[in-house]
Amino acid sequence: MCTGGSSQAGLGAAQPHRARFAVTRATRASTVTALLAIPVLLLLLALPAFASRALLQELFYVFTMLSLAQLWNLLAGNAGLISVGQQAFVGTGAYALFAFTVVTGLEPVLSIVLAGAVAGFVAVPAALIVFRLRGAYFAIGTWVVAEVCRLILAQVKQLGGGTGASLPADVASSIVGLDFIRNLFGIRGPAARDILTYWLALVLAVGTFMLVYRLLRSHRGLALSAIGDSEAAAESSGVDVFNTKFLIYLVTAAATGMVGALIFLQKARISPDAAFSLIDWTAYAIFIVVIGGIGTMEGPIIGVVIFYLLQYYLAALGSWYLILLGVLAIILMLFAPAGVWGLFSRFYDVSLFPLRRRLIAPVGRVADKRGRTN
């Protein structure tokens, strides 16, 4: 990278203008990734034309888990809000979807958006209460909130009470765009619904990713990393710590609610225990983030692939599978708390989705491979 010859020439020739430093975020890897992302996304979009229904259902699961993981990562990895209660918003979103579609007869896709709004709305009082708890106690506080939501919704008889309810067939077939898909692919009911939910999951996963990525690259992202380094120092530099965290909590809750609504639109059956499952919606998301690399954009993507493979090959082991995940999580925390991506980036200076600004030395300055000038 270093071009010593021109440096000598530059200094010797007494150039009229001084060489300038530049600040950039893009890396060669990130440009390649961005260019590769376009064909990959187009391929995923076109996948229903030739993929089997089973594959679409598997990918639906992968995309929704990726979304939940990205959101938990934003919350815990970037905002330092370690929550073990995100199932509160998955469940609230899911129940809101059932309420909107079954009770008031709204269109399901519109209901997903509204379900997100409901989850965000619920997050306001929840945040005001649990933000009074700090650190690890905040974590258990979020769990209590999730339990309160579960116990309250289990009382609502119109939505099946404690035993749950199924989505009526006429609701499932009323989703906007189903006819379009039927005509496009020449298929019948259930298969068309799988394609539609697959597309919705893809849109939510990409949308969540872009949301988190844009947020972290904005001035709020900068404020978040300042808070992560030192709350007191951030506060004294003019960062509104409470409002920043509050905003992140609300945005995450709303997006988590939308994902929850979509998951249960696809399942077409809801019960309090399933909708507010700690293991399914929060523990797995945490596992994905931790194994991939917490606090990075790349981590959850790698994590969801590893998690899916583990699940695919080992889920049949039942409780031994969960024990294995627990053991893996403990080993990771002890020996590689930065996850797979953290280990990788210790040896290779690659950033596919760069968040950090790097100082680029003018040509001629000796720069090491991390972009720092010597």
């Binding site: 815990a76 370690i82 073990v84 209460i129 649990v130 009074r132 708890l133 700090r134 650190g135 690890a136 106690y137 974590a139 258990i140 506080g141 769990w143 209590v144 909130v145 339990e147 309160v148 116990l151 309250i152 289990a154 009382q155 404690g162 700690l278 293991i279 523990a283 945490i286 931790v290 917490i294 409780s319 031994w320 969960l322 024990i323 995940l325 627990g326 053991v327 893996l328 999580a329 403990i330 925390m333 002890l334 708390p337």
Partner: protein, 288 residues
């Protein structure tokens, strides 16, 4: 009216059980600022260990006496080889390690003992009650449980405030660095702390099984009750933890008295209300 009086008495006695759940959690938080997400599952583990010994023919009291040091040793080892490595400025590693541990213990119990509901047979004590007159009677077992909860707090407080070991505990809790300068090995203090917490879990597990049915899945709910008792009582005060346990117990029995389905919800709501009104609990001592 009589029904209400009975409800209040039951609630206070239930608070004794919740205080036993919470004491261990309160101690480990007070001394090492650690929150153990596996706490509830370790209580259930204590109950199952006692059950396993009784099925081998060991009398129940002897079983508890055996499980107590076993759990102490388990806590000591757990802290020395696992949690001491993870303690630091970042709270995520200890939190996730204990979360992983919770899943391991829960599913390990499920594999070993199946999902069947169990209880600990304490013979005639199970249903014995003490008539208080006026048609109100209190169960002997809940009374013993409340007495045990109080005894555990008296015992721990006298250790913490009357012994050299207790001084080391308090010094470590106040300021780890200075305590180390004074020659205290904080890691071994932490290991003993976790040992004590798990020994209390063994006692709590016994009363859990003697008072009601249990199965491997009920740990997390016990963790939440314990946590609520600690926060309501105020961090750093064991008597506050007992008071917090009583608040949760009372809220639950009063909720159940109105509608049986509201029992658990009422306990959680009471906790949230206290958090809004008195964010630092009823009797705060420590600053987190």
């Amino acid at each position: 009216m009589l029904g209400w009086l009975d409800t209040v008495i039951q609630g206070i006695l239930l608070g004794g059980l919740y205080s036993l759940y919470a004491t261990g959690l309160s101690v480990i938080f007070g001394i090492m600022r650690l929150v153990n997400l596996a706490h509830g599952d370790l209580i259930v583990l204590g109950a199952f260990l006692t059950l396993a010994l009784t099925t081998l023919g060991v009398p129940i009291i002897a079983a508890v006496v055996i499980v107590l040091p076993l759990m102490f040793a388990a806590g000591y080892v757990l802290q020395s080889i696992l949690l001491n490595r993870a303690l630091g400025r970042n709270i995520l590693p200890p939190l996730l390690i204990t979360f992983g541990l919770s899943i391991i213990v829960q599913n390990g119990l499920l594999e070993t003992f199946s999902a069947d509901t169990r209880f600990l047979n304490v013979g005639t004590l199970q249903s014995a009650s003490l008539p208080l007159g006026g048609g109100i009677a209190v169960g002997i077992m809940p009374l013993i449980c409340f007495a045990a909860a109080t005894a555990v707090i008296v015992l721990l407080n006298s250790v913490f405030y009357r012994t050299a070991l207790g001084r080391a505990f308090r010094a470590t809790s106040d300021d780890v660095e200075i305590a180390q300068l004074m020659g205290i090995n904080n890691k071994s203090i932490y290991a003993v702390t976790m040992g004590i917490a798990l020994a209390v879990c063994a006692v709590a597990g016994f009363f859990l099984g003697a008072r009601a049915n249990f199965d491997p899945s009920i740990g997390p709910a016990r963790l939440l009750y314990a946590f609520e008792a600690v926060i309501i009582g105020g961090l750093g005060s064991l008597w506050g933890t007992l008071a917090g346990g009583i608040v949760v117990g009372l809220a639950q029995t009063i909720g159940a008295h109105i509608d049986p389905e509201w029992q658990i919800l009422a306990g959680h709501v009471a906790f949230l209300i206290v958090l809004v009104i008195r964010p630092r609990g009823l009797f705060p001592r420590a600053v987190d």
